[in-house]
């Protein structure tokens, strides 16, 4: 079990924090290459399908996972294929949590500039974190930026 950085421990006031026990999460470790980074997706999405998440949630989770894995390979592990990526995840009837951790030096998420700023809108990079935040209910960087925690709640059925 990893140790949480004291600065990034889940906030006890957070409604979900008290329920977090990450010991029984499933773990997949892959080599840090773009090709290997694709492998956890199938297993995770299969588990999610079993819990009957809607199409929109599947789209969101798939997109966020893709962005998190690409960031881990390119920015976290800086394309060093001797490093690895660890994905831990948990799927329940209420929510999906996916934690992606790289072996890199970490980063400060607040240093990432707004990609929609007029000066940056035509740059080809820098939209991954923004998309993860838009599509997931919670995105938190932990372990000095080496680990991203992604959470999506299962939408409640619409009532007429």
């Amino acid at each position: 079990m990893m140790r949480l950085d004291p600065m990034t421990r889940p906030d006890p006031k957070n409604e979900d924090a008290h329920r977090e026990n990450e010991d029984d999460y499933r773990e997949i470790r892959v080599k840090s290459t773009l090709k290997d980074a694709k492998t956890p997706e199938k297993q995770i999405l299969n588990d999610i399908k079993c819990c009957q998440y809607c199409k929109e949630s599947m789209f969101a989770i798939k997109l966020a996972l893709e962005e998190a894995m690409t960031n881990a390979v390119k920015h976290g592990n800086q394309n060093d294929d001797s490093k690895s990526i660890t994905v831990r995840y948990h799927v329940s009837d209420e929510r999906v949590v996916i934690i992606v951790r790289d072996d890199g030096p970490g980063f400060q998420p607040e240093d990432i500039p707004d990609p929609t700023h007029p000066e940056r809108i035509s740059l080809p990079n820098g939209r991954g974190i923004m998309l993860m935040k838009a599509y997931m209910d919670e995105v938190r960087y932990r372990a000095k930026g080496r680990e991203v925690y992604l959470m999506k709640r299962k939408p409640k059925p619409k009532q007429d």
Binding site: F59, E66, E67, T70, P124, N125, R127, M130, L131
Partner: protein, 118 residues
């Protein structure tokens, strides 16, 4: 016009090159790099190109794909060509809206509308 390993099919309609994507998911960097290369080669071979990307087959798109489209747009404009996008499903259009790239790209409802706008 499509080879076995190609990620696109291209049809020339009058002076517009209409591209359809073979992959329903434009997500991972490896395929996106190949796809971007194919589109740039097409643009270079037919300068100044009128290029229309038809997204009707596309169900998933990542930030790497958006980056590739931005690079392609610049490349086409440098060659004095024009790039338009069409048939983007609502879920994918949302990705463009969140990143505000719906303002950067010339996006049309369908191919007929896009074709008429060149």
């Amino acid at each position: 016009m499509a080879t076995a390993d190609s990620h696109i099919t291209v049809v020339q309609n009058e002076d517009v090159f209409v591209v359809e994507f073979c992959d329903r998911k434009i997500l991972d960097e490896l395929s996106i790099n190949e796809l971007g290369g194919e589109l740039q080669t097409l643009a270079d071979t037919h300068k100044p190109i009128r290029l229309l990307l038809n997204f009707s087959n596309v169900e998933h798109l990542s930030s790497a794909a958006l980056g590739m489209l931005i690079t392609l747009d610049k490349h086409v404009k440098e060659g004095k060509g024009k790039l338009k996008l069409s048939n983007i499903n609502p879920q994918i259009y949302e990705v463009f809206k969140i990143t505000r790239l719906n303002k950067l790209f010339d996006i049309h409802e369908d191919t007929a509308e896009a074709q008429a706008a060149f």
